[in-house]
């Protein structure tokens, strides 16, 4: 089935391991040139889905095409069109970075000279030129991920699969990978990115599919998904004075939400940050002293909680709901 404007088309994809149905009828579409964030907690079925889309695992039901080729019937054509960087950077610690990229070039059928040139260019691109002749086992986690990414790019793939590319990385390394992913996407590469990090999906993805227990529970742009949950709200902490008076003033700016405690006012606003100046002016005119004020936006975790009843990131429970919220602090 040729679908030139769709890089990935998945219909009713299933995979079972004995009695366990790891992926249960996943449907999704990824357009050419977009970054698709596949978000879900550990064990949700992200990696199993990616392994099927990259032809490493045969589906037990449904169908999928990648770059216009069926993953089950035209596996080799799929493999020629994709780059893959899997969750555990699949690197040989005894090889040097340069050897690995050159081997990858050979695997992708690049002639020797071109393979060597591509290897040099890519090592330069991911800032590993100086470490190219060191064994991979001596690389830091961030360097290994960058090398894995470079290897996946050696044949300039149409579709790039990144399975949790920043898991376990420090913030600086994570940012470096994000910048590289954005740059690749700007050059026209379609990126299918699995992640368990909300911020990663929010920052990078044009569209997000949220998977839980083998099923897609929500799909759309990060903004549209968050908008489904509700408007942002202003959360203000009073320095002194009565909460009743503050609530009366804030009710003119937006819709009051039940207060969390005796010193905090929550007001839902329609225009987000644009409503903050109005709130500040109204409070100032009423002579109410505010200790802090912040705009709290719904997050993808709120979307996940809304759809599944539990949080996406490890260590969060229903009781600490709101901690994953995306806050914009404003000094009062």
């Amino acid at each position: 089935m040729e679908t030139p404007d769709r890089a990935i088309v998945v219909e009713g994809l299933e995979r079972s391991f004995g009695e366990v149905l790891a992926v249960q009828g996943v449907d999704l579409e990824v357009e050419e040139g977009e970054i698709y964030g596949f978000l879900g907690p550990n064990g949700a079925g992200k990696t199993t889905t990616v392994r099927m889309l990259t032809t490493l695992l045969l589906p037990t039901g449904g169908s999928a095409t990648v770059a216009g080729h069926d993953v089950a019937r035209e596996a080799r054509a799929v493999r020629a069109s994709i780059g893959v960087a899997l969750q555990e950077a699949a690197l040989d610690p005894l090889m040097t970075g340069r050897e690995l990229i050159r081997l990858q070039a050979t695997l992708q059928g690049l002639p020797g000279g071109e393979g060597r040139r591509r290897a040099d260019d890519l090592l330069e691109r991911v800032d590993l030129a100086d470490a190219a002749d060191r064994r991979v086992g001596t690389y830091s986690g961030g360097m290994q991920r960058r090398l894995d990414l470079a290897a996946a790019l050696v044949h300039e793939p149409r579709v790039l699969f990144l399975d949790e590319p920043t898991t376990g990385l420090d913030p600086v390394s994570r940012k470096t990978i994000w910048e590289e992913v954005r740059a690749l996407n700007d050059e026209g590469t379609t990126v299918f990115l699995t992640t368990q990090y909300l911020e990663e999906a929010d920052q990078l993805a044009d569209n997000v599919g949220i998977i839980d227990r083998g099923r897609i529970v929500a799909e759309g742009t990060p903004e549209s998904l968050k908008a489904e949950v509700g408007n942002p709200h202003i959360q203000l902490q009073l320095a002194e004075g009565s909460i009743a008076e503050a609530e009366e003033v804030c009710a003119r700016v937006g819709k009051l939400l039940p207060p969390r405690d005796a010193r905090t006012v929550l007001v839902e606003v329609e225009n987000g940050a644009a409503d903050i100046p109005r709130a500040v002016r109204a409070l100032d005119e009423a002579g109410i002293a505010v200790e802090s004020l912040e705009l709290v936006r719904p997050t993808l975790d709120d979307v996940f909680v809304n759809k599944t009843g539990h949080h996406i990131e490890k260590g969060k429970t229903g009781e600490d709901e709101g901690e994953g919220a995306d806050r914009e602090p404003v000094e009062a």
Partner: protein
Amino acid sequence: MSELAKNARVVRALGMRSIRQTFRRPQLMAPILVFPTLLLAIQTGGAGSAVDLPGFPPVQGFLQFMLAGAMMQSLMLAGNSGGIALAVDIEMGFTDRLFSAPIPRFTIVLGRLAGTAALGLLASLWFLAIGLIFGAEIHSGVLAALIAVFLVTSTAMAVGAIGAAIALRTGSASVVQGLFPLVLVVLFLSSAFFPNDLMIQPAKTIAEYNPLSFVVEGIRGPIISPVDATEELEAVAAIAGIVALGLLLSARALRHRLRVG
């Protein structure tokens, strides 16, 4: 570039990686050259008078007799090491890199076997050199050396195919490593280290039918006596049998691995 040439390039590249991997990991290299060399030295030094036993084949010295056994031990452990290295690749996810490349999947196994064969070649040259340095006579000269190189290299590949099959099936380096004693048992139940005529039952019968005995005799024959075509054909047939079994098991194990992911 034709499909065949492309595949040959892939096999060569994977074979080169396999050789580099062995040289860079001492625990893979040691069983291939160090252990058999030590065993050869100990046996030759300690049991040299065995050649005087009635029924022992006529040889110039015990080292001349033992060279084939040392080569067999080396190639068997090379096959086992190749299996361990493949299992390590599976454990660390490196095979996913290979399986997600647009290459026929049999080239992945052939690449590994090419590396094992190269190590077999190295082992045969190493022990021929040791034999010559320490005074062993190579009775049929260059032809004996060429036959030894051919048989050792091809047997290494055949045994490597069985190692690869076990690695693909189990995906566990410790399981493949656990076969190390079994490899030695199979080898000791052949004529690698002792003439078949001097063995007692049931080892004698087992050794008589052990395919490795045919290979050993095929290597040893031209070293200690004139070339016997029948002996060499039996060795080639035994290797062909091991190759066929190894490739069949590897193909099935590869299909299994791709099915279970």
